[in-house]
């Protein structure tokens, strides 16, 4: 039988993911049981296994989904011109993405330790692919002399950490708008690579 739109699975799947994300971010993966996730969704514990084989698969699916979404969203950005323009684009994109998904970012750093080795390897590859996007921008700018970046790999890690850190203090109701925050960080990122 053809799968119908809006089926039970289509509706509950995202609910299961949302509940798991919220509970993992709040209590930590190891402290959360499948029973708690089921309760949060409002289904029987047994029903949860229609959506995910186990808790590890759920964690992996959350972290992979987050990285897939991030890479797809970056891919979908209209590519700016030169390295400087692309660096500004990456800076603003990363801050906006980070602020939009604080719980996913939090568990992406915190729960790597709880991924089984083969799952960890997949997530590491995806993170590497994302970091490569910035590294390529820095390398291309360094080649044309637009940037002064002696070690593009380290500079990549430094810039991403700086930008992701916005999550530790940014509040939507705070004294600065997101666009002002982006502007301040862009100024610092640009200068940090001699652009």
């Amino acid at each position: 039988m053809a799968r119908t739109q809006g089926s039970h699975s289509d509706i509950t799947g995202p609910k299961v993911r949302d509940a798991a994300l919220r509970l993992f971010a709040r209590h930590g993966y190891a402290a959360v049981s499948m029973r708690q996730i089921a309760k949060e969704v409002g289904v029987q514990a047994g029903a949860l296994y229609n959506y995910t084989p186990d808790k590890q698969s759920l964690l992996f699916s959350l972290l992979k989904g987050h990285m897939d979404d991030l890479l797809a969203a970056w891919e979908a950005e209209p590519k700016a011109g030169d390295a400087l323009a692309r660096l500004e684009q990456f800076t603003r994109f990363h801050i906006r993405s980070t602020v939009k998904t604080p719980e996913a970012i939090f568990i992406s750093y915190m729960e790597l330790r709880n991924l089984e080795p083969e799952n960890f390897a997949v997530i590491e590859d995806l993170r590497g692919a994302y970091e490569d996007q910035l590294e390529q921008i820095l390398r291309s700018g360094a080649e044309t002399g637009a940037f002064d970046v002696p070690d593009p790999k380290i500079a990549t890690m430094a810039v991403i950490a700086m930008l992701t850190g916005v999550n530790t203090w940014y509040r939507h109701e705070g004294r600065l708008s997101l666009s002002e925050v982006e502007g301040i960080y862009w100024d610092m990122v640009r200068k940090s690579v001699g652009g």
Copy 2:
């Protein structure tokens, strides 16, 4: 009776803290029981309560101890001359401290959510006091025109996040020595504030 040096409590106290730090960093605070900590130390669960009233006190004591040590170590540094020299000093100090205590840094970010409100407030104050050290350096450099920092508070958060991020990738056996890493980050930090 006078307390003798090397008493049971003197020896086991640090062991309890080390075990708790290791287990919290590995599994997360919520997933670790006092019984597990006792087992890791090699004492009966009941004996643990000679050292700490409960798990929350243990977490608080770890996070507070970490911040107290960090502030004391910074205080003990011979103060460098001008704002640029002090910024370099802070940059190298923060990277070295971060790399020395990766587990404490990890739980300092991750387990804030598990501190009871009054404990959270104490840790937040200590973090604020540490951040103030950098903010004052940036402000004093901005006042003399040594730095171009439109928003010293945000610049403080940006620089600290960048430096702390070393922990996500630095390995002692990696291709760069710690001193080389410090040099690369110092170059980026200096440029990022227009120094």
